[in-house]
Symmetry: C2
């Protein structure tokens, strides 16, 4: 991940409504949640939600699939991992201040253990 992508992802998450949507989807799992249900569960007008879903998608944080009249949105877990790895990259110059973070927060190592 490069800096400009990280800024886009962070900007997408740096908004109360979008953060709530993203967390809902992170917790919901890879199968995702339909836009309408997100709208209902978080009490967000459909058009406002659509705007935020687009923002999150453009930042690469969501994936979507159409199923009939419904569009299911799911968190892009790999992207989330990329972002975390970017933030913690080379933490303390490779030192030991955050050994677990440094060890785990690399895309490759995370993916090795991930089903998503």
């Amino acid at each position: 991940m490069i800096s400009i992508d990280a800024v886009a992802a962070l900007a997408a998450l740096a908004q109360e409504t979008r953060l709530a949507v993203f967390r809902l989807l992170v917790q919901a799992g890879p199968s995702g949640v339909a836009a309408g249900e997100i709208s209902t569960r978080l009490d967000i007008p459909a058009n406002t939600l659509s705007f935020h879903l687009k923002t999150l998608s453009q930042a690469g944080l969501l994936e979507s699939r159409q199923e009939g009249r419904f569009i299911y949105y799911a968190a892009a877990y790999a992207r989330m991992d990329d972002l975390i790895a970017f933030l913690t990259d080379n933490c303390c110059n490779g030192g030991s201040c955050l050994p677990k973070t440094a060890q785990v927060a690399t895309v490759e190592k995370r993916r090795a253990g991930n089903a998503a």
Copy 2:
């Protein structure tokens, strides 16, 4: 960490200059870097940098200490961990999509192994 704090932290990081500053400090380690040196290393005007340092500090992402005429800024590692934990909280409803993230990205577990 509550949602509004997370939004503040993410907003602070969602800006090219501030993200560069934060990553510089994450990599520099707990001893920190003086404002002037950050300004030089990243080629940011002093007043602009000051504005961004304040934003990052208010979001709880930086700590600072004065030493003579210099002010050293350092990444607030615990806060960074809180943020990551907040994002990945209850990932996949506690399922196994991201076992390593779920396992590590909790404040308590991270702190147990952290010197910072």
